[in-house]
């Protein structure tokens, strides 16, 4: 049913991506803005403060917001040019219904009625769980909260999950296991105040650019920097110690570092005894991980591993930072736990300038994982299978506990279930799985099997092309609400302009659908503020307690760190002070982890490791950034990055067209021959769809504990294409 209704060329002609270069009317017509709206960037988890310039009720430019403490005016190119997404020619301005040869406008009432009618028809025939809801982590806390409640109480399905499943879940699950809470342990100011920064699998300068400033501020005071990454990224270039790890070998490396730290006498026994449990099993587990024993597997000389252990042991205060590089693995949770083991064993957490954090990727990567839109969680980061948690949420919602569906499927599992015909209807907001999920060919087949698909979006994403109904929603700057940044700091997103033409705020669309699904009394919201007030109340008593946070307090304090249990509470910038963790006994937990190989190892047929990631000028699936001309100019198309030695073996020179093939499919790209990557590994950024999609190659293999896909390791082969097939 849900094949794309027209050929790609005509869909692109009608809906883009087209490129916007200038504010409405051009730069010359910009004139003096009427107002500057203090808000935050719509893209990554740094959530930089920025001012949007508004003229004649249109966003026409940007001005740094220097008073906002996190970034003090600093921005990356995405934050500077993001205003060009407003007034964009591709903007969806009215509801659309698929026709025999494309999409046609349809009145709002008719569109909403159709959604309810089609969803209920599927549920009547195939059960309530035959419809799934997919949501996103770029949404405000208010919308994230609303989506979870909407799926469970209005649609009545257990299958609600979000694109943070591709982002934060491995770190989240590991943090919950180890600490009993899932949030960066320290405010970013602690990075600037530390003595040693250990960065693992985090392309800081491209994916969380502002963090660069914090790292340099520490280094200006004499702090050392150690970077673990298969690619020599811009932040790695200046490191004191660079460990070029083979993708997928993180546990082996971390266990070896801990092995050495133990040998050097670096364990803080007083801390371990007073504040943790499970260390003896970890001691036992790392016994066989001498640096010499792992050096071949991890691809790093033993003496460099020892050097890292010495630096770690000698530094009075350390900050360990990681992100998707160690998390996008079939053992993502184990990789993170091996980092936490090192931090706990040396007691290097819970102090000024000393601690640990995962760097969240998406704009609301932190908050959107707490408000109950995950398949396994209810608001307040509560466990959907925990009877007490269920009872607390049911009471706050005023529904019987039995009205809350049980745990549902993860986002990738939802696509697998669609492919198998078990889920037949889909409602999505802020998710472009056709570009973001592994094995894009499989994802496309799944989408084509849906009986009914409705999406809310502001541009027609590649996934949205498969929809039966497209409802025009709001851009970040067209609604008000809150997000929670990388630091766990709750921030205020202000509305700069209202949605254009017939487009509506996402929460208004969801609320109206909920009313039509017969749940009016549970969705009696007249503002996003009202949703926040309910979210606060429902979160009371949970780990992720927002109940003491008000929008006024956020404005006054330039953000409030949760947990914040009452209005007099100042918020909690630093967790675990005094060694108090969030498990019932107050102790942190060690977890013994053993190294195991990636799901797909290289072999004779596919001898090269593929790893994927991002570039600084694009964001995630590019739905927004591939429409912004100046950003596209900076890196117009994906290239496959390879070391000159590999290139020589393949008889490839820089700029040659090559075919990269895995067991799933192939893509034709230009080679980028650079000595800043391991020769056994190639890198392709994943922001593009279709024939240029890195995710045509990646493998549908998931971490059993968190469900995160293994985007960082797949086996590929590469051949040079004859010049006539130039791409």
């Amino acid at each position: 049913m849900a094949c794309v209704p027209a050929d790609e060329a005509s869909l692109i002609a009608a809906f883009g991506p087209h490129l916007a270069w200038e504010p409405p009317g051009g730069f010359a017509a910009r004139g003096t803005p009427d107002r500057a709206v203090k808000t935050h960037c719509c893209f990554c988890g740094q959530q930089c403060g920025v001012q949007l310039l508004v003229k004649d009720e249109r966003v026409v430019g940007v001005e740094p917001w220097e008073e906002f403490p996190f970034n003090q005016g600093k921005l990356c190119p995405k934050g500077i040019k993001r205003y060009l997404q407003n007034n964009h020619p591709d903007r969806l301005l009215q509801p659309l219904v698929r026709t025999g040869n494309g999409f046609a406008p349809i009145p709002w009432d008719e569109a909403l009625d159709q959604v309810v009618e089609r969803v209920r028809r599927i549920q009547a025939h195939h059960g309530p769980d035959a419809v799934a809801v997919l949501s996103g982590a770029s949404l405000t806390n208010e919308k994230a909260y609303l989506m979870g409640k909407f799926a469970r109480l209005a649609v009545g399905t257990r299958h609600i999950d979000y694109n943070g499943r591709l982002c934060m879940v491995a770190a989240g699950a590991a943090n919950l296991k180890a600490f009993g809470i899932d949030r960066a342990a320290n405010p970013w100011a602690d990075i600037a105040a530390t003595d040693l920064i250990l960065v693992l699998g985090a392309n800081v300068s491209e994916c969380s650019p502002i963090t660069t400033d914090y790292i340099w501020r520490a280094r200006d005071r004499g702090a050392r920097l150690v970077v673990v990454d298969p690619r020599l990224t811009p932040i790695a270039r200046t490191a004191d110690l660079y460990l070029p790890i083979r993708p997928g070998r993180d546990v082996a490396l971390l266990n070896a570092i801990l092995h050495e730290v133990i040998r050097l006498g670096g364990v803080d026994h007083a801390f371990v005894e007073a504040h943790t449990s499970g260390f003896s099993e970890v001691m036992e587990a790392v016994r066989d991980y001498a640096p010499e024993a792992v050096e071949r597997e991890v691809g790093i000389p033993a003496h460099r591993i020892r050097e890292a252990a010495v630096l770690w042991t000698q530094a009075p205060r350390t900050m360990l930072l990681h992100s998707r590089g160690i998390e996008h693995h079939t053992k993502g949770v184990e990789n993170v736990l091996s980092c936490i083991n090192l931090v706990l064993a040396t007691g290097k957490i819970g102090r000024a300038g000393c601690g640990y954090a995962t760097i969240t990727g998406q704009g609301n990567g932190q908050g959107a994982r707490e408000q109950g839109q995950r398949c396994n969680q209810l608001p307040g980061a509560r466990d959907v299978e925990n009877p007490e948690h269920r009872a607390a949420v049911a009471a706050a919602w005023g529904v019987p506990e039995s009205a809350i569906p049980r745990k549902g499927a993860t986002a990738p599992e939802i696509l697998e279930m669609i492919h198998r015909g078990e889920i037949r209807g889909l409602i999505s907001l802020c998710f472009n799985p056709l570009v973001s999920l592994p094995d894009a060919t499989f994802t496309r087949e799944a989408l084509e099997r849906l009986d009914f698909y409705v999406t809310i979006d502001f541009f027609l994403s590649e996934t949205a092309r498969h929809a039966d109904l497209v409802l025009p929603g709001s851009l970040q700057e067209e609604d008000e609400g809150t997000v929670t940044s990388v630091e766990g700091r709750v921030l205020h997103i202000r509305e700069a302009v209202p949605p254009p033409a017939e487009a509506r705020r996402d929460w208004e669309i969801i609320r109206d659908l909920a009313h039509r699904f017969g749940a009016a009394e549970l969705f009696d919201f007249h503002s996003s503020r009202a949703i926040f007030e309910e979210l606060r109340r429902v979160s009371r008593g949970s780990v992720a307690d927002y109940s003491g946070i008000t929008w006024e307090k956020i404005d006054e304090k330039m953000g409030v760190f949760w947990p914040c249990p009452d209005e007099a509470h100042p918020g909690t910038p630093r967790l675990f002070e005094g060694g108090r963790f969030y498990h019932a006994d107050g102790r942190a937990r060690f977890h013994a982890v053993a190294y195991r190989p990636p799901a797909e190892e290289v072999d004779d047929a596919y001898p090269i490791i593929l790893t994927t990631g991002r570039v600084v000028s694009q964001f995630l699936t590019g739905t927004q950034t591939r429409r912004i001309g100046p950003l596209v100019d900076l890196y117009p198309a994906p290239r496959v990055e390879m070391h000159p030695r590999l290139a020589a073996e393949l008889d490839v020179t820089d700029g040659d067209p090559v075919r990269v093939a895995s067991r799933r499919g192939s893509v034709d790209l230009l080679a980028h021959v650079v000595a800043t990557i391991r020769p056994d590994t190639v890198f392709i950024p994943y922001h593009w769809p279709g024939r240029r999609s890195a995710n045509r190659l990646t493998v549908r293999a998931y971490d059993p504990l968190s469900g995160i896909p293994e985007f960082k390791v797949a086996a590929v082969r590469i051949e040079r294409l004859p010049a006539v097939e130039r791409v």
Partner: protein, 200 residues
């Protein structure tokens, strides 16, 4: 008083925020007055931003046949006066840093003026406001001495001539005179050497 821009390419991460922000300055019409270069991408990710260094005896102004390039009392070398400039391009050829941009169609040169509209009213230039790495830092000599471990340098040997500049380049404490050579090779960082070592 207008401050000083301190340029530290060793911190540069190549994000181009400076270039994109410059293009957003009122009056720039979407065009950046500064640029960012990859020094030797085949072997390194090292990048460097190029802004006007505001020479104390600017070659661009000296060679201008139309006397279109004026210097403000605080030493800011301003963009060409549109009514005087003939777009001949002498300034671009004379500049040791490659700063002036010639618009042949409009017969006009434009260049970085240290965000005169901002800095003359006590604000920071756009590029240094947004730079996420501190590769572009705007402030005073005292501030930079306090904050940084490297040293500001303001004279450069270029083709046998010494050029003195208002803006400064941050150099390691060990470096004395900075010689600008067009084909200078980039020295390899510790991390780059460690990668090579691991691959042996």
């Amino acid at each position: 008083m207008i401050g000083t821009l301190f340029v530290d390419p060793s911190r540069c991460i190549g994000c181009t925020a400076c270039v994109e922000a410059c293009s957003e300055c009122p009056g720039h019409g979407g065009e950046s007055m500064i640029h960012l270069d990859w020094l030797e991408r085949a072997s390194s990710v090292q990048t460097a931003p190029t802004v006007c260094m505001h020479c104390t005896e600017p070659a661009c102004a000296a060679v201008c046949p139309a006397d279109a390039i004026k210097i403000d009392p605080e030493g800011i070398v301003l963009s060409a006066l549109a009514e005087r400039c003939i777009g001949c391009g002498n300034c671009a050829l004379a500049c040791p840093f490659g700063v002036p941009i010639i618009h042949e169609a409009q017969a006009l040169m434009r260049k970085c003026d240290l965000c005169y509209d901002r800095t003359s009213v006590g604000r920071k230039p756009m590029c240094a406001t947004v730079c996420p790495s501190g590769a572009l830092f705007y402030g005073t000599q005292e501030e930079v001495a306090d904050l940084r471990r490297s040293r500001p340098q303001s004279h450069f040997v270029f083709g046998g001539e010494t050029v003195h500049t208002r803006n400064h380049l941050m150099v390691p404490l060990s470096v004395g005179t900075v010689t600008l050579e067009p084909d200078a090779t980039v020295s390899r960082s510790t991390a780059e050497q460690q990668l090579e070592e691991a691959l042996c």
